[in-house]
Subunit: 282 residues, 2 copies
């Protein structure tokens, strides 16, 4: 089921046998000028693996959302199913496009000017889906988190996944690229410390993970380089990667993530390169 | 001794006991608008470890220099000491600034328009000192070798070293940065495949490896952010890293390179971060 609470999208897939359990949480921030509702098909995939998903519409208030979570916002939310609890010791933060950058900024503790004092909510993992930090290295959005020094994200051993799109750095018509070189997935990956994972959906574009019925596609096609393959395969592939990453670092089971990395589990679209840096060896 | 041949700087440090031996070669390309003669103090350091150094003045003719080498140019050069031979099975290619990019382009086989057909000279290693690929990701010099995809340099298992400067991405006065974010050492490193090594001289600038008596320093100080520490320590540190890398991959002795990586051998200036990616584990 999905509910809109305080401009947030709350997604919880509860099966009868799970009622009474405690579930990990995925916080997801949408991209610039887009709606959280455009991601429900992707997020339902993740939610169905029994994660509580909180996807606020207002990404500029990321720190307030984090504060709301730690203060028990979910448990006091009337639309939360009874006997369902959020496990606030297992919260991953994620996002797409500028929301991917917001996720990193929140994990790094780089707050907006009017944010509350750093909250005590600790994240267990961070995940950027085609994250974007501005329009060029010299024109980045605040807070500026990229330093252009490899492995500079000061996240200790927090696990990181970066998923890029191969067409995101291409322009469409007169529109500049939506995920330009120098501020996109490649640099986010470069600044990540192990343990970290990189996946490139090489034949898809920056908007190809939206719902079929989400955005006005006739507009998207004019401003965004899109892939020629079926979008449901893109969403399934991204969903699978997200779930495998969460399973590994929130659930303690690395089997599927390892399968994706060593390519024994094949995605339905071309994911290349896939790179993993383990903390023990790199 | 150092000689200028065909606009080239040839540096050979021969001790009596070495005459009659065969020596590995380091090809070095200078930066944009600067002279190869400004690097002699740095290059003498490397040369003293018994490498033949060829540092042409004309970097736009990199492929022709490579062709000249393979056709025995060095052995027919009248100023080469008698009984000294170049080992063309052990040639590393390197450079500073735009010359660093030239080194990568030559190793990658990305030729200038008027270059001879790809030569049969195979490089054993490539080394970029604060390499620069243009003024921004959207304004790169030809040939465009950066793809903004991690590990995209198609160099098989050729070992790579990238040395960056921490101040190279800062502007000085009204002059833009000489090694701008998005086209500098960080992205060259990001596109390198293992085995590869990254070193950042974090408190020095893009020009701090020039000779003391080389460039007009009063001009350099106006256009280039320079470090406050002694430049001879910068040259010694860079020279030491270059020699350790060549020893490892041209000489087969990884001891000093490993010492630098695990910081048991300490450089006289701050080198941080130091990152190594081994082909076996990463």
């Amino acid at each position: 089921m999905s509910h809109s609470i305080y401009n947030q999208l709350l997604m919880i897939s509860i099966q009868d046998q799970n009622v009474g359990s405690i579930f990990p949480v995925l916080l997801f921030f949408h991209g610039f000028l887009v709606e959280n509702a455009w991601y429900t098909q992707l997020l339902e995939h993740v939610s169905s693996h029994v994660y509580i998903i909180v996807a606020p519409q207002e990404v500029n208030q990321a720190a307030f959302i984090s504060e709301w979570l730690i203060k028990g916002g979910l448990s006091s939310e009337p639309k939360m199913p009874k006997n369902v609890q959020a496990d606030l010791t297992k919260v991953a933060v994620s996002g797409h496009s500028r929301g991917g950058k917001t996720a990193f900024a929140l994990a790094l503790g780089c707050q907006e000017a009017e944010a509350p004092p750093a909250s005590s909510l600790k994240f267990s993992a961070v995940l950027g889906i085609d994250p974007v930090a501005g329009s060029s290295p010299s024109n980045r959005t605040d807070p500026k988190i990229l330093k252009y020094i490899p492995r500079s994200f000061d996240l200790s051993t927090m696990p990181i996944a970066v998923i890029g799109t191969g067409l995101g750095n291409q322009k469409k018509g007169i529109t500049p690229p939506l995920a330009p070189n120098g501020v996109n997935h490649a640099e986010f990956w470069n600044e990540s410390k192990p343990p970290c994972y990189y996946f490139l959906a090489k034949e898809y574009g920056h908007c190809d993970m939206f719902n079929e019925d989400g955005p006005p596609w006739f507009v998207i096609h004019k401003i965004c380089q899109t892939g020629s393959g079926p979008r449901d395969l893109m969403r399934r592939s991204l969903g699978g990667i997200v779930v495998a990453f969460l399973e590994a670092y929130l659930g303690g089971n690395k089997q599927n993530l390892q399968g994706i990395v060593d390519e024994s589990l094949e995605a339905p679209i071309a994911i290349h390169p896939i790179i993993s840096l383990d903390d023990a060896t790199c």
